[in-house]
């Protein structure tokens, strides 16, 4: 799939070369080069597939940015190497990505060193952008901004919950931070007892022992912090062993694959994200309808945020009067950075009013979702 990204880049390059030969008036500065890092294979490939649809929709709206797309396979080492490549040899003015918190944690310092603005559309583990000022940004709510709203809704829907068990993936960065720090804090501050935190790892296939252990503690509710594959299998095992307690899950499960894999077991699972799938706002509804024409599954958080991140980057590229000359690359990168730092009440096309706070993190209204009849529905 990396070759697909490369071939897009090649086509774009070829078009540029032809237009240059024909003496077309388009100056180089009209098309700033922007790198994109996402998982097109391996861990999280389904998130990446959704982002790809969003990128295609963005590109069809205009060719304001020249995108150089690379597949990180969800691997930290790949993400680091590709970031270096984007900064050093592709000479991009900004990088959109990577998707995972684990990847963001290791690539942000590389971008800071290379003095290139980097903006992840999705990573949600608190503190990652803050540690890499002033070059790192993220167009996603960190999980500490999401989980409060999620737990409030969940407890409102199931008032009997007093004690819970947390099942968490300790190998995935955001699930680990969510399940071991952010969710327990949100639960405890609302008077809920956490009986135990039971861990598993990305890629595990047998969750029977963990679920049996959780069952023996007899909780009122089950909290899951995992990505969609593992989350789906945990939820499935929970129902298989006859536990009927309500389930709430961190934002990692927010992907249509979660429902596909978990099947009926996904019913009633509550989660949270940045994107209101059935937002009646006509512009968003149009975007969702257009998306559904291109994809068998409805858009996910990852797709919506990718689209909006590209939109923000394009706006900044247009506003910052980039020179586009190789000698001015450093200046151009600084201009992009300063523009991103000033994003305030920006009307993002899909996820709505967005502000980047002093930490470089997005601030917007979180949306709580529940699975009903095989679909994510927002709880308003």
């Amino acid at each position: 799939m990396a070759s697909h990204g490369k071939s897009i880049a090649l086509v774009v390059l070829a078009v540029c070369a032809v237009s240059a030969l024909l003496g077309a008036a388009a100056p180089a500065a009209a098309q700033p080069k922007v790198g994109v890092l996402m998982p097109l294979s391996g861990k999280g490939a389904s998130y990446g597939a959704h982002q790809q649809v969003a990128i295609k929709m963005f590109q069809e709206k205009g060719d304001a940015l020249r995108l150089v797309i690379y597949d990180t396979r969800g691997e930290n080492t790949d993400a680091i190497n590709l970031t270096r490549k984007l900064i050093g040899s592709d000479q991009v003015v900004a990088i959109v990505g990577p998707l995972f918190s684990g990847e963001s944690e290791v690539t942000f310092p590389v971008a800071v060193q290379g003095k290139t603005p980097i903006i992840t559309p999705t990573s949600a583990k608190p503190g990652i952008a803050a540690a890499n000022r002033p070059w790192a940004f993220r167009n996603a709510l960190t999980s500490d901004k999401l989980d409060g709203a999620l737990i409030d809704r969940w407890l409102a829907a199931h008032p009997g919950i007093k004690k819970v068990v947390i099942l968490l993936d300790t190998k995935d960065a955001v699930s680990k931070s969510d399940g071991s720090v952010v969710l327990p804090a949100a639960l405890k501050s609302r008077g809920i007892t956490v009986l135990d935190s039971i861990s598993f790892q990305t890629g595990d296939i047998d969750y029977s022992a963990q679920v049996t252990k959780a069952k023996s503690l007899n909780p009122d509710g089950v909290v899951v912090a995992a990505l969609y594959n593992e989350g789906a299998n945990v939820v499935r095992e929970v129902r298989k062993q006859g536990m009927t307690q309500p389930i709430v899950a961190g934002l990692g499960v927010m992907d249509p694959r979660f429902i596909e894999l978990a099947g009926p077991a996904a019913e009633g699972v509550m989660t949270v994200n940045d994107f209101w799938t059935d937002n009646p706002d006509p512009a968003v509804a149009r975007w969702v309808a257009d998306y559904k024409k291109r994809s068998p599954t409805p858009p996910s958080n990852a797709a919506a945020l990718m689209y909006d991140t590209l939109d923000i980057v394009r706006t900044c590229a247009e506003k910052s009067a980039l020179s586009g000359k190789p000698d001015d690359l450093e200046k151009d990168r600084e201009r992009m950075r300063d523009c991103l730092a000033k994003v305030k009440d920006y009307k993002a096309p899909v996820t709505g009013a967005t502000t980047f706070d002093a930490n470089g993190d997005a601030v917007r209204q979180p949306v709580v979702l529940v699975v009903r009849q095989g679909k994510f529905e927002s709880v308003r």
């Binding site: 861990s199 022992a209 594959n229 298989k240 062993q241 006859g242 694959r257 894999l261």
Partner: protein, 290 residues
């Protein structure tokens, strides 16, 4: 809870055993480790899944299809990765290296054809669960247990009661002597590969049905564990592989239940190392396909 955990361990362990037996069979006749065995297991799961998706078939068809499909695959591996090197009197361990290559090829082909995403069997095959006293048991778990036991008994009878089984034991004892006595050792080796691979294929379908996590990479961990179990039970000892599989399945599940679950594999391998320290020949001694 302990009872339920032991049931969980038994289920996991019996699939481990099926994989480990395959390693033991091949090691028994060739004295070599087949490092693509985990990938054969993965292909079994994928073949079973495709049959279910295309033919809207049930688990039985998936199981039989996977058994046959991986048996053929196993024979192809023997004919392409082992036999040519043996025929040319290549270095003794060269076939092991060539099976690493076979494993990578199978992984890549599976990724290209079926995609790198984790997939599961359709939900209509969702198991029925029963509650027996304090434990919950599902139809898939009974299927795993039934099929594993049936395959192990069948294997035992085949090895001890048939002429082919006898020929295999003779070849395991000494390939040279067996050949001098008129046994076509090449044919024996081919059949051994077919049987070993079929067992792994069946394990693939069983794991797919019960854990719903089929991907081109599912064979990597399982392959390593199967290998460890073979070592634990005694190199090339099929009964050792059976017992070792159940033992490690139980250790793994109990370590999750009562110790730290992030270290399940560490416990499994620690137990293996401990046992080998005291019994270097493995629990049941080396190479008894007798």
């Amino acid at each position: 809870m302990l009872l339920q955990q032991l049931v969980n361990g038994l289920m996991l362990g019996s699939t481990y055993a099926l994989i480990a037996i395959g390693y033991a069979l091949i090691f028994g006749v060739l004295g070599l480790v087949h490092l693509a065995h985990g990938e054969v297991f993965m292909m079994g799961a994928l073949i079973g899944l495709q049959l279910v998706l295309w033919l809207h078939a049930g688990p039985a068809v998936a199981l039989v299809g996977a058994l046959l499909g991986t048996a053929v695959l196993g024979m192809i591996i023997e004919l392409t990765a082992f036999r040519p090197i043996r025929a040319r009197h290549g270095p003794v361990f060269a076939p092991m290296v060539s099976t690493i290559g076979v494993g990578l090829i199978l992984q890549e082909v599976a990724t290209k054809v079926f995609g790198g995403e984790q997939v599961g069997f359709p939900h209509r095959l969702e198991p029925v669960t029963w509650r027996v006293g304090p434990i919950t048991i599902s139809s898939v778990q009974l299927l795993i247990l039934g099929v594993s036991v049936a395959l192990m008994v069948a294997l035992h009878l085949w090895v001890t009661r048939t002429r082919m089984g006898m020929a295999m034991r003779a070849s395991a004892e000494s390939t040279l002597t067996a050949r001098l006595l008129g046994i076509s050792t090449d044919r024996v080796i081919l059949v051994t590969f077919a049987v070993a691979s079929a067992l792994a294929g069946a394990a693939g379908v069983l794991v797919g049905l019960s854990f719903n996590a089929i991907s081109p990479f599912m064979g990597i961990d399982m392959g390593v564990k199967g290998l460890a179990i073979m070592l634990l039970g005694g190199l090339g000892n099929i009964y050792g592989a059976m017992v070792g599989g159940l033992l490690l399945g139980a250790v793994e599940v109990l370590s999750v239940a009562y110790l730290a679950s992030s270290y399940r594999d560490a416990f499994v391998f620690a137990v293996m190392i401990l046992i080998l320290l005291f019994r270097p020949q493995g629990l049941f001694g080396v190479g008894h396909i007798r």
